[in-house]
Amino acid sequence: MSKVYNLKREVEKPPRLTGGHRLCAGCGAGVVVAGVLRALNKEDRAVVVNATGCVEVSTFMYPYTAYTDSFIHSAFENAAATCSGVEAAYKALQRRGKVNGVVKFITFAGDGGTYDIGFQSLSGAMERGHDMVYVCYDNEAYMNTGIQRSSSTPRFARTTTSPVGSAGQGKPQNKKDITEIMVAHHIPYVAQTAPLGNFKDLHIKSHKAIYTEGPCFLNILSPCPRGWDYPASKLAEITRLAVETCVWPLFEVEEGIWRLSYIPKKKLPVEEFLRPQGRFRHMFLKGNEWMIETAQAYVDEKWERLLERTGA
């Protein structure tokens, strides 16, 4: 990749995630996976590993693969271990001169496979220092099995296991901060991004993560029209609002140095992000104003801390 990002040139590359996969119409994860793979140099090859999740069950249904690169199935809890094993095997064969050429190792996992079930194998692979990228497409719940809450689900969000009714008002806990946990692994590159505008942020971060030697981690917001309950056509708008309200800040941590990628000109109130989504509908009922205030206070506190960290 030359230094300047050029959308026209990038979309000219043949897609590495083809059509014909069975992700829902308007799925954010399809956009994220295709976007990350687009950051590979055209001539390089990749091995893609998937943890159990929407992307795994939809992109690789025998005898159909939506990948033009090698792909390996994995279970929920061991995608990072599988990927690190393939990487180690490749390095060993390379030392013996049995394989050559650039091969990149990329794991895709949802938030369930990253924040919860796959967390130990992810932590292990990062600690061992394998040359791989772990990409979490964060859709904030177990969407594949029917929208159950995960530790990534934000507070107050309605899911089938954190329903709204007389006994409960959505998920009672806040979202786990996995990006910060990955920073604490002191790996070369950690970043948070989202499918936005001309995809410059997602592309540059993906390219950096893929071509930085050592373990790298990307957390990418991946709106889910079914689970978040918004019209499928509104992907770009929902992501934009997540970023403009600072609910999903864009930043990167390179060799321990924190850097903010984007500061909204005018930080929008968190309501703007919550309102279009059915999973937060109950927050707008009379008597529930405190929920919006609490959500706003939480976002403000996290944002202030991020500003401090990045020295912005």
């Binding site: 959308l7 026209k8 990038e10 979309v11 000219e12 897609p15 995630l17 083809t18 059509g19 014909g20 996969h21 069975r22 992700l23 829902c24 119409a25 308007g26 799925c27 954010g28 994860a29 399809g30 956009v31 295709a34 976007g35 687009r38 992109t59 690789f60 249904m61 025998y62 005898p63 159909y64 693969t65 939506a66 990948y67 033009t68 690169d69 499918p195 505008g197 001309n198 995809f199 029209p225 019209p231 499928a232 056509s233 509104k234 992907l235 770009a236 708008e237």
Partner: protein, 102 residues
């Protein structure tokens, strides 16, 4: 070796690839997801400025690009989500009800 296109629900298990492996890339292209559409995008080439903003936003890689120009939709794979119409800054894409572009 049996090819993906020759495998279907009537293929006896003895003929399947060992370990359920797939030896060809991108075989999903042969699968029609166009039948999922309840709404269909229509491309108006004369209004398109080829800014390409719609291309990376398509979850189904259903907007082909060739020589700096975006071409008409790949209706075999488009599921009709309407994101492209939403992100298009020009009147180059309109959604119509139903599964066919008319």
């Amino acid at each position: 070796m049996i090819r993906a296109k020759d495998i279907n629900e009537h293929t006896p298990w003895q003929d399947l690839t060992p370990g359920g492996e797939i030896y060809e890339p991108g075989t999903a292209r042969a699968f029609n997801t166009g039948t999922w559409r309840t709404h269909t995008p229509v491309f108006h080439a004369d209004a398109c400025k080829h800014c390409m903003l719609c291309v990376p936003f398509c979850p189904d890689s259903a907007i082909p690009v060739k020589d700096g120009k975006r071409l008409d939709f790949d209706y075999m794979h488009c599921k009709g989500c309407g994101i492209c119409e939403d992100v298009c800054p020009f009147p180059a894409i309109t959604m119509v009800a139903g599964g066919v572009p008319k």
